[in-house]
Subunit: 350 residues, 2 copies
């Protein structure tokens, strides 16, 4: 009464539940070497003699062998995936960050796992927890504000991690970004240099998009310091679009007839304002000066061309990937926080 193997098919020890794909063992048998040698030939070709390497490569090609990354990652306790977590995919800004990170990571053989939090820190924590289950090689997260749980989780994890978008002391490991307060202050200085004294700010969803709020804070603080003060702040709750920027401009002009200049939280709004001004016969910058933030290409093609702050989004993504790669290679990263800066592009709209 042990196992009913007695009168069954003599050669049916057990079912198989393999994936059906060729495995490293198949390659090893075909090339007549040990499995471990195949592994080495693929991961560290220099340590295998040319003769064997060639036989192995031939076997790989003949069998169409593709290594099972799960098995490899399980055995080595690391993988080649790198999560990149952004707060929004509605915004073209993050696309360039993604592209920057992807351009470098893909070239180095890493895979980008894309996560979206929709500006929700709880969701971020959940997402990150799931993604840590992939034993990632590193991680890129947006912003410096996370739930305490997220921060602790990432610290316990201990892998290379870059917080991007805003410059500051990293909560976890490394940081690359720009100071949004400094950007706001720079725009204030620019307005004052142009002679505008009655100036204001228009932003959307400032509760979630706290980096826009930081620009406002820096802007307002610089104006206060100059003894000028901010004339108005318009907070909108819809998502930033070109259309909304136009409507906001009309509202601002109606509500603050003496205002001279408006700093919009981003270029989408600012471009919308310029386009609306054209239609409505509002003269820019005479009736109202307009500035934005991001440095989207589009701003250079409206009339007048948009004054804006150019954020190096692509470079930021690429730099983040670069810092991760350095850390993964075991190099030390002396500068744990990098201020990637910004550039105020003064054009005809102010």
């Amino acid at each position: 009464m042990s196992k009913p193997l007695t009168d069954n098919a003599p050669t049916s020890p057990r079912r198989r539940r393999s994936s059906g794909r060729a495995t490293i063992t198949d390659v090893a048998n075909r090339a007549n070497v040990a499995r471990i040698t195949v592994s080495r030939a693929l991961n560290d070709p220099g340590t295998v003699s040319p003769d064997l390497r060639q036989r192995i490569e031939a076997a790989v090609a003949e069998l169409g062998y593709v290594p099972n990354r799960h098995a490899g990652s399980l055995a080595s306790a690391t993988s080649s995936v790198v999560p990149l977590i952004v707060p929004s995919l509605s915004n073209a800004v993050f696309l360039e960050v993604i592209r920057g990170a992807q351009s470098l990571l893909e070239a180095e053989g890493y895979e980008l796992l894309l996560g979206n939090t929709d500006y929700d820190v709880e969701r971020e924590q959940k997402l990150m927890q799931t993604l840590l289950g992939w034993s990632p090689a590193g991680a890129i997260v947006s912003g410096l504000r996370h739930s305490q749980g997220t921060i602790e989780m990432l610290r316990r994890w201990g892998g290379p991690c870059v917080e991007i978008m805003e410059y500051g002391t990293p909560n976890i490991d490394m940081n690359v970004g720009l100071s949004h307060e400094a950007a706001g202050a720079a725009m204030a200085a620019h307005f004052l240099a142009r002679g505008y004294q009655r100036v204001g700010f228009v932003g959307t969803q400032l509760d979630w998009d706290y980096r826009a709020a930081q620009r406002l804070a820096g802007f307002e603080a610089a104006l206060d310091e100059a003894g000028v003060g901010i004339t108005f702040v318009k907070r909108l709750e819809q998502a930033s679009t070109v259309g909304l920027g136009g409507r906001a401009l009309k509202a601002v002009i109606a509500e603050h007839p003496h205002a001279q200049a408006t700093f919009f939280a981003n270029d989408d709004l600012a471009v919308g304002a310029i386009l609306e001004a054209q239609r409505a016969g509002i003269r820019i910058p005479d009736d109202m000066a307009i500035a934005g933030f991001n440095g989207l290409n589009l701003g250079n093609h409206v009339s007048p061309r948009l004054t804006t702050i150019v954020s190096p989004r692509f470079r930021m993504g690429r730099r983040a990937a670069d810092m991760l790669l350095a850390r993964m290679r075991g190099e030390s990263v002396p500068q744990r926080a990098r201020n990637i800066g910004f550039r105020l592009l003064a054009q005809e709209s102010t």
Copy 2:
């Protein structure tokens, strides 16, 4: 003293190379159940009694247990990653496709693995081969044109796969997209209905961006069929930008002074043309009618508003994810190819 479980004493003769994280065994010991019961409690809670489930959940929380996805995927020969391969990340169009797919996949517990081919079929094949190493749950690829190797590889793989962006017979499994030839023909019909007889096309990088070339083909064929013929085709080799669209408009007007209407390959170019016309005093649509393709929001905020063809990008990404999910759940997908259509938005620029 039965088993030296978490005995990390340095005197231990056996080496350990664990990741250091809590494992399912740790949870099982803590909750005093078998490992497999923990696995069930997490993956199929209904089959575990409330009592045990609660103990297990408590143990999970106390230990901060996160399942190792590699181990799970290796054992079950499937994973929850879904590669999405796009030809370009420079283009905001693909962002919305990504967002559409991501919105559904993430909600269902799948992870999006982003790949970029830069319109290179060889690179696509290599990328796909790597990604298949992750035993993906499904795959989304762009376009219907792939290398033969890619097609065979994906067929051999046999998992659910959707080819997106253009409508047609799937090479591999499923398809969702729109007919770019029909879109081109629709624009031709629109031009003719507006009374334009001398019309042309401006496109960039048509060798790679073959879907734009398809729009041209459909446009040209419809004009031929109407006995009108195409007046000019301008092929540019730079990437499409707003600035380039403006320059192209000036060139077209100089080279074809009697032309009445231009179909630009995409909205970036067309918007650039409209903005340039404003600056240069070119009257639209009187001096030149202008149309684009994509239906970017921006086109509604330039003056005159852009006539364009709206492609349902977000819906396309989401639909692709939906088809994958149906297939993964084992449901049959009766309609293997779906024409998601487009909408010609006739505004004041034509």
